[in-house]
């Protein structure tokens, strides 16, 4: 095959959804294998490694993100049904959750407030501009809610999406170390905390710790999504007023 036909083949393939979809699965497959090889070490986060690999390949081949996404959207689409499917682990833990309703409610309110306020304070203190701060505020909740909140408050929804994923990865990477350090052994407390701080990526990590932690993370993720949508439009103007850079 000469060079011209290789270029022609690339031009053809890069306009089809097949390539973006396959690249996503292959990158994740490689990342997952490394994750397993390192015995599931939290720092070897599969999402982080797969994203890094894809950004590298897309940059080197000069492929614009929207063209990649033409294919990757088929994987992205499954986030919807997967979110609905979280109802099943929730159902399994329903009785325990009902018995703990008050502690869970108090923890959620506290965690949600800390998530929004602490990000704002640190960001403002280090000189981020206001649109960045608003985009940062809903970073702990699942992407669609976070983007809707950022947009309604005057942030940049697509920046929020990137910050949400980064938050999820950070949460999944640091949670276990923190629990060890702080001697938090209770699986429900572990799962619930990861779910509040790190939404779906944290929940995926929590399922690796135990099914119980996973279910509590799923509950926290859903509940924090709802609470942030209600609380942020009320907290952000206050933060804007009291703490600007």
């Amino acid at each position: 095959m000469n060079e011209q036909s290789i270029t022609g083949l690339w031009v053809y393939l890069s306009t089809r959804p097949l390539l973006g979809l396959t690249m996503t699965l292959v990158a994740y497959g490689i990342a997952w294998r490394i994750h397993q090889r390192l015995r599931g070490h939290p720092l070897a986060n599969p999402v982080l490694m797969a994203v890094a690999l894809l950004v590298l390949v897309l940059t080197l081949t000069d492929t614009p993100y929207p063209r990649y996404f033409d294919g990757a959207q088929f994987v992205h689409f499954l986030l919807g049904p997967a979110t609905v499917a979280l109802a099943i682990p929730l159902y399994r833990q329903f009785n325990r959750m009902r018995a703990m309703a008050l502690p869970l409610g108090v923890t959620l309110l506290l965690g949600c407030t800390v998530a929004i306020t602490s990000a704002w304070i640190v960001g403002a203190w280090l000189g981020a501009d206001e649109r960045t701060l608003i985009s940062l505020a809903p970073k702990s909740v699942t992407t669609p809610i976070a983007m809707a909140v950022a947009e309604a408050l005057g942030g940049l929804p697509s920046l929020t999406a990137a910050l949400v994923i980064a938050t999820g990865i950070l949460g999944a990477m640091t949670a276990q170390g923190l629990f060890r350090l702080m001697r938090i052994q209770d699986r429900s407390a572990q799962g619930f905390a990861i779910g509040i701080a790190a939404h779906g990526i944290g929940t995926a990590r929590a399922f690796q710790l135990s099914p119980e932690a996973g279910a509590f993370a799923a509950l926290a993720m859903a509940a924090n999504g709802l609470l942030t949508a209600v609380l942020a439009p009320w907290l952000v103007p206050m933060l804007k007023h009291w703490i600007s850079h």
Binding site: T24, A72, V75, T107, A124, S158, L178, A222, L226
Partner: protein, 117 residues
């Protein structure tokens, strides 16, 4: 499996329709999850096929975030100019949120265990 996938999509669709009509900032799949949960409580649990399909989807939940995560390349410029406040805010806030939430809930759990004895 086809049946189970259909159920999940139908609930997502119902959720999507509700948030549009009511103009809520909550995404459709989250409403769909709530409705499916209620249905499971009323009907006494999922059947094997739904359970199996759900577990299959959830066992590789991380994969589903990869396409959106790769979107970070769209923000290379802002990340370059504001990487320090962004990185510090994300790290401090995430660690603090996990620590405060876990500590708070564990305190409740311990207190309950102590009062049970």
């Amino acid at each position: 499996m086809l049946n189970a996938l259909t159920i999940l999509l139908v609930f997502q669709l119902i959720g999507e329709v509700i948030t549009r009509l009511a103009d809520w900032p909550v995404p459709g799949p989250v409403i769909g999850m709530g409705l499916l949960f209620l249905t499971l409580v009323l009907r006494g649990g999922p059947d094997d096929s739904l359970e199996g399909t759900a577990n299959g989807l959830l066992s590789h939940l991380s994969l589903l975030f990869v396409p959106a995560g790769t979107g970070i390349m769209l923000h290379a410029e802002r990340l370059e100019s504001e990487w320090l406040p962004l990185a510090a805010a994300l790290l401090v806030s995430t660690v603090l949120t996990i620590a405060v939430s876990a500590l708070c809930l564990q305190l409740f759990v311990k207190r309950r265990a102590a009062s049970d004895e």
